[in-house]
Amino acid sequence: MNAPTSTTPPTPSTTASPTAPVDPAATLQVSVWRGDAVGQFSRYEVPRQASQTVLDVVTHIQRHLEPSLSYRFACRVGMCGSCAMTVNGIARWTCRTHVANVAGADGRLEIAPLANLPVIKDLAADMSGFFDKWASAKGVFRGTRTRHDDFAKVEPASPERAAANAGIECIGCAVCYASCDVVAWRPAFLGPAALNRAWTLVNDVRDTAQEERLRAVAGDAGCHSCHTQGSCTERCPKHIAPTAGIAGLKRLAGRAALRGTL
């Protein structure tokens, strides 16, 4: 079941500096999703501060206003990817999203769990289906060497290594997955993150599961359902372009299907 859909249109970003001085009396009007698939938004007033992130706002609510609020975070510095939520209708890392850039002049924020994932409680989405799809896309490296063999030599400037490099920094935050319309329309669709992972392995010259992986990512549950809308690429906080990787998978799998090797 999908996460709740925002009933309020996203507030346009402002150009205010995150560190600009703020009125000490200013407050944010924050709507936070409470419940699971069934629930409602609860309103809270949170003091506005300089350099305040959306994660700071959620933490303030939990520590001072609503102790039973559930949400997920770990590193707070954009390394773990666990704090992704829907902020004013757009999936974002809350730890790296300054309130000044999303709340606008009226100080309104709407915070919901990530879309396209079941809601466990409040702002915590169930990521198991998301990671199961990485496994379905054969997102695990399979090589032949052992610890007794010499290192594989991979030319850093080779086209394959460059293609793998372009997608390798994904940390699995699911922002792309929550932003993908095709995931919403086709629940079996593997999604941008799993396909991006597969693309990095397709370009790993050491990997030996290439045919099996291409079969896993082809077809209507895989790369061929992507409509190249580019929401994943636009929203990815790591500036990865899953759309480009998926296009590469389409070409390889399409040709393999015509040749009869898929």
Binding site: D220, H224, A253, A256, A257
Partner: protein
């Protein structure tokens, strides 16, 4: 042939037919803009196309490319937006492709061959 291979082939056929269509549309528009400069009437069109194998082959290719290109797209729309069952969606989409093929080739025959 399993479903995955069939789906991948449909995507590839759609992509190749899109390339053909892009070329056909450009040529069609260019010829139309050139031809319409002196005014356009049914008899003037027929005087150009009647008996012309060039026009006949060109528009036959255009129609075949349309008939191949449209069904995969309609199939996707039916599955994703209308939530039809995939087998039903594909069947209806292919029927529509046959309709395009038959009516399109009949139109080509009418302007090129028919007396």
């Amino acid at each position: 042939m399993n479903d995955t291979v069939a789906q991948a082939r449909r995507w590839y056929v759609q992509r190749l037919s899109a390339m053909v269509l892009a070329l056909c549309v450009v040529i069609h528009l260019a010829v139309m803009i050139y031809a319409v400069r002196g005014g356009l009437s049914g008899s003037e069109i027929l005087s150009r196309t009647h008996g012309s194998w060039t026009f006949g082959i060109f528009y036959a290719v255009f129609v075949v490319a349309c008939a191949l290109h449209v069904p995969p797209g309609l199939n996707n729309i039916a599955v994703e937006w209308l939530h039809w069952r995939p087998a039903r969606a594909l069947f209806i989409a292919r029927l529509f492709g046959v309709l395009i093929l038959v009516t399109g080739l009949r139109a080509v025959w009418a302007v090129v061959v028919a007396p």
